[in-house]
Amino acid sequence: MWKLILRRFLIMIPQLILMTILLFALAKMMPGDPFTGRFSAHTDIHTLLRLRREAGLDDPWPTQYFRWINNIFHGNLGNSFVLQKPVATLLGQRIQNTVWLGLLSLGLVYTIGIPTAVASATHEGSFRDRFWTTYNSITGGIPAFVIYIFMLFLFGFTLNWFPTTGSVSIDANGFWPVLGSRFYHLILPALSVALFSTVSLFNTLRTSLLDARSADYVRTARAKGVSNKRVFWRHIFRNSMLPVASTFGFDLVGIFSGAVILETVFGYPGMGRLFVQSITTRDYTTMNAIMLFSGTLTLIGSMLNDIIMSWVDPRIRIK
């Protein structure tokens, strides 16, 4: 097992290197540099050039690349020239917000997805089954941002049930009121994600439930006289959750890849919104840091995925 983890980890290293090269190339393709925004037309061109040289922007690309990597390892992601703050500090708060939103969404996806898949699979072909299958294929295919806007319009503005922007109310003071207010702000975006993102969980679980139902070990259990309920929960459900568990890594990553649009619509101050804001202001340092962060996270997620998969499914381990 540890061998497999080590091997999977080693595979990650070249992937990570390739990604940093890609991001570095993107950064170099972006017009302007950190000093472009800092000086007005009056600034002496020689001062500018000196500053550039001192910042190492005239060095050959490989030198710059390795300096950038070195800085990252020391936790230095550069400074945002627009917001005049180190990017690392800027990201910290935003990432927290995104993580909370993501975890709540993921939790809701599982609470909605699992029971509906079970209901569907246990009544295959019934109205219930057709309803949930159709529901999932539609919600899984329509563009998310339109849904988010409808949800915001309906529950935020029209019915006034939930706040329409931000992550916490300014009036909230003290630990519990702030926590409550944060949670209150999370509900609508999280629910919007959950209601319309169950498709992959639903399909995976439903298919594996249906497959397991006709498997030999289930028939054997039945033949031994095990009660239906016990057969379902002990044999069918347990085994069917394995493929679901194995996609957990990617689900986790999905939180961050969906954040751009979700946070923009709900005006939620997370990492995705920060990214869109920094594109608008051409804040390249921040953009790059966010891409690096979510890319690394995806890598870790897919590694986690493979490890969980081989952990729950011995066939892969043996191979």
């Binding site: 992937q15 390739l18 990604m19 890609l22 993107l26 393709m29 972006m30 017009p31 294929s137 539609i138 295919g141 329509i142 563009p143 998310a144 941002f145 339109v146 806007i149 409808f150 915001l152 319009f153 503005f157 029209t158 329409t164 922007t165 961050f256 890849s257 751009v260 649009i261 923009t264 619509v265 990214f275 869109v276 594109i279 608008t280 051409r282 953009m287 966010i290 891409m291 979510s294 890319g295 995806t298 890598l299 897919s302």
Partner: protein, 301 residues
């Protein structure tokens, strides 16, 4: 030789004909898919033909008297926007622009997907390995963010630039889909038999294996089309698609980011949003009906 080709043609027509027959039967049974199909046809043709009749200067002269009109006033069916432009005409133009991107993107990614998927699975070995590593790599980079970054770097682009940039990451899904299908198909002895009958690899891929995937190909095209409409309008919604002068459906929905517009003048963003939804949903229904046809034919075989 020419005659032989003709026979082959008429036979492939016979095959296409039988798919068409099966599809028609399925659509007759599934009324929702049927309605979706006609809706899609009407919208696509209506939008492309209709937009030819909209004069170029329809939006250039801003009418201050007619700004922010509610629907059904002064002959504006869907009202006007803050610049006094007729919303209905805007939606038609925007839909045309959106489709002008999502249709080519669909064609590009389906072509690339079937081509690479077939080759990768058929040849296997190193060729397959290299392409799988490439797709693995592309599927772990933060796609949407890189797309947006690329679009800010290339600041002067045409519809075609947008098509290529969006296609850059979207072919992965369709390639993997066809690769998996080809892998399953390749195991059949008819592939070996074809080899022994002296057919070249290319002939085996396109003349023997591809006809067995064609039903899946049509279904997948419909679903990919729905996905691409979502992708294009999403990028435009964020403000990085077509320039403001060539509005996309996403650009119109973007007006809803202003709470004032969202609550007070819903006619400025609702029609576009509904059209996006209706297009995607109908494509999903069509795709599912086609997939059922494909599966039946698969099980028949």
């Amino acid at each position: 030789m020419a005659k032989a080709k003709k026979i082959e043609q008429s036979e492939s027509q016979a095959h296409a004909h039988s798919f068409l027959k099966a599809a028609v039967r399925e659509f007759k049974r599934d009324k929702i898919a049927m309605i979706s199909f006609f809706f899609l046809v009407i919208v696509v043709f209506g939008v492309f033909i209709g937009s030819m009749f909209i004069p170029r200067d329809a939006f250039s002269n801003v009418d201050i008297m007619d700004t922010n009109l509610a629907p059904f006033t002064n002959g504006h069916i869907l009202g006007t926007d803050d610049g006094g432009r007729d919303e209905f005409l805007l939606v038609v133009i925007a839909a045309r622009n959106s489709l002008s991107i999502s249709i080519p993107v669909t064609i590009v990614i389906m072509a690339v997907g079937i081509f690479l998927g077939l080759m990768s699975a058929y040849y296997g070995g190193f060729f397959d390995w290299i392409w799988m590593r490439i797709t693995d790599y592309l599927s772990i980079v933060p796609t949407l963010m890189i797309l947006l970054t690329l679009l800010t770097i290339i600041n002067n682009y045409s519809i075609w630039t947008l098509v290529w940039v969006i296609s850059l990451f979207s072919w992965i899904g369709s390639m993997r889909f066809f690769r998996a299908l080809t892998f399953a198909e390749r195991e059949n002895d008819y592939v070996k038999a074809s080899k022994l009958s002296g057919s070249s690899s290319l002939a085996i891929m396109w003349k023997q294996i591809f006809p067995n995937l064609s039903s899946q190909f049509y279904a997948q095209t419909a679903l990919a089309f729905a996905g691409n409409i979502g992708l294009e309008t999403g990028i435009s919604y964020l403000g990085y698609g077509l320039p403001y002068t060539t509005p996309s459906l996403g650009t119109l929905v973007n007006k809803a980011t202003d709470p004032e517009v969202m609550t007070q003048s819903p006619w400025m963003w609702l029609p576009a949003s509904f059209l996006i939804l209706a297009l995607s949903v109908s494509l999903i229904f069509i795709g599912q009906a086609l997939r059922r046809v494909a599966d039946q034919r698969q099980s028949l075989a």
